[in-house]
Amino acid sequence: MTRYLPPAILVVLALLPLVLKDPYLLNALITGGIFTIGAISLNLLLGYTGQLSLGHIAFFGIGAYASALTTLGFDIGIFGDFRIVHEGWHPFAGFIVAILLSGACGYVVGRLSFRVRGAYFVIVTICFAEVVRLVALNWVELTQGPLALTAIPQMKIGFPGLGEITLRTKAQNYYLMLAVAALAYVVVARLVSSRFGRAMRGLKENEQLAISVGVNATRTLTVAAAISAAIAGAAGSIYAHYFRIIDPDVFLFTYTVTMVIMVVSGGKGALAGPVIGGLIFGTLPVALRPYMAPEAQWIVYGAVLIAILFLMPRGIAPYLDDWFASRRRAPARAPVAQPQLEGQP
C-alpha cells in the first residue's frame, strides 16, 4: 500500500492545475513546492545524518544567484584592470550551473564545518549563510546589492525533436517545480537505501561505532552535504526564473526556518516527511491569509513548531507509518472472525 502512495500523490499533484485555475493559489503552491524541494534536501542532512544545518538557505540563494547571473551575464572587475565578462547563457545552463556551484559550495562548507559537531556545526552553518548574504548585499557590481537582480529570463526547456518551450504560465512553472521535486525525492530515496545511506544512518546512530566498522565519517557527511546543497541550488534556480527577481533577502534566516519546520513537522529521517511538512506549511499561509496578518501567521508557525516538538517529536510521517502498519495487520485477523459470521444466519 505505502509503496504505491508516492506515485499516487504525484499523480494527484500533477492533476491539480487542471482543477485549480486561481493564479493566487497556484502561485502559493509553486512557492510552497520550491521550499519543499529545499526541505527534501535539508532532510538528507538533518534527517539521515542528524546534522542540523541552519544555513541551508545559503545554498538555495547561491543557486538562485548563480542561475540568474549565468543567464543574465555580468561584467566585473577583479584586480585593477582585469575584468571577467560573461555573456548571458541559456536559462537551462543556469539551472545546471546552479546545481554544480551549490553542490561545490556544499562540499567545501561540509569539508570545513564537519570538523565540529552539534551546537558548533549549527552555528558555523548560520554564519556561512550570513556571510553569503552580506556578500550578496555588498558586491554590488555582481549582484546589484539591495537593488536586486531583475528581469531574470524565464526558464526555457528544450525537448529533443519537439523544440523548445519557455515557461511563461504558472501551470508550466508548477510542472517544472513538481518534476524537480519528484526527481529530488527519488534521488534522496535511492541514496538513503544504498550502501551510502546506511553509512549516513550509522553515523547518526553512533558515530564512533560507524567509524570503527570502516565508515569514512568526514567523506560521507561531506558528500551528503554536497548532494543536499546541489538539490537546494536546483530549487533556488527555479525560484529565480519563476519570480524573475532576487535580492539578498533570499538568504534570510526565516527561510531556513521555514524548511526546518517543514522537515521537523513532517518527520525528519522519513522520505515523506518534508513532503507532508511542505504540503502543510506550503498551504497554511493560503489558509491563514484571510484571517490574519503575516506577522500573526509567523506566530502560528512558531507555535505549531513548538507544539509538534512537544506532542509529536518524531513528526507526522512516522505516525502515518504506524497507522498504515496497523491497517496491514488488520486483514490477518479477519479469517478468525469469519466462522462466527457464518454461524450467524
Binding site: R115, A119, Y120, C127, V131, A296, L305
Partner: protein, 290 residues
Amino acid sequence: MDQFLQHLVNAMVLGGAYALLGIGLTLIFGIMNVVNFTHGALYTFGAYAMFIASTALGLNFFVALPFSIVAGLALGAAIELTLLRPLRGADIDTTMLVMIGAGIILQSGTLWIFGGVAKAIPSPFPDAPLTLGSVSISWLRLFVLVAAAALIALAYAMINGTRLGRAMRATFQDSDAAALMGVNVRFIYTATFALGSSLAAAAGALLGPVYVVFPQMGDLAAVKAFAIVILGGLGSITGAALGGFILALAEEFGAGYVSSGYRDAMGFLIIIAVLLAKPTGLFARAERVG
C-alpha cells in the same frame, strides 16, 4: 593615529554591550546545554521595554533601564518554566528548535504590536559630545560603556561571590553531583536562564537609545552573541567578556580600515576562523567541548 584612538573608543562602547550579550548566552549554554535562539528576541525585548518605559510609561531614563532588565528577567523565567523545564533531558536539537519557535513568536509578536517602523528612544544626555583631545564620545555612549562595565562586574560578583553563583558553578561542573549535594538544580536552571535573559535585555536597553529600535534588531545581535561565545569558548564567562570586546574591535577596525559594508561579516568570519583553527575557543576549558 587620531582615527585609531577614535575607533578604539567606539569599539569599547560596543564591546561592553556585546560582552553582556555573550555572557548571557554562554551562561545558558554552559549550565543548561541549551543553545538559546531566543537571545536575539530578548535583546529586542529589552530595547522595546526601554522604549515603552521611557515613552508610554513616562519613566525617567535611569528608572527605565532597570525596569527593562527586570522585564527581561521575568520573560526569561517564563520561557524557562513553560518551554525548557518540560524538555529537560531532551536532546540539544529539540531544545534548539523549540527556542527557534519561541524566538519567532517573540519577534513576530513585536512586529505585530509595534509595526516595522524603527523607533527612537529619547536620551536625557546632552547632544554635544565629550571631546578629549582628538577623540570624541557622546555622553550617551559613555554612559552605555560605564553601565555595561558595571553590569558585567555585577554578574561576575554574583556568579563568583554569592551562594546562588556557587550553586550555578557547581551545576555547571556536574549537575548530578550538585543535585546530590542539595542544590536545587531545577531552580538553578530557571535562575540561569532568567539571568542570561536579563543580560541580553540589558544589552538591548543600552544599545537601543544609541541606535534605533526595530523588531529585527535581534537577528544580527543573536549571531554576534554566538560569535562572541564561540570566540571565548562555549561556557566560559571570562571568554565571553573578552570575546565581546575582541569582536567589537574587529568590527570597528574592519569597518574603519577595510570596508564598512562588511562590518557585520567580521563576526562570522571570526567564528569560522576560530572553529577551523581552534574549535574549543580561545579561552575555553577543553572538557566543555562536545
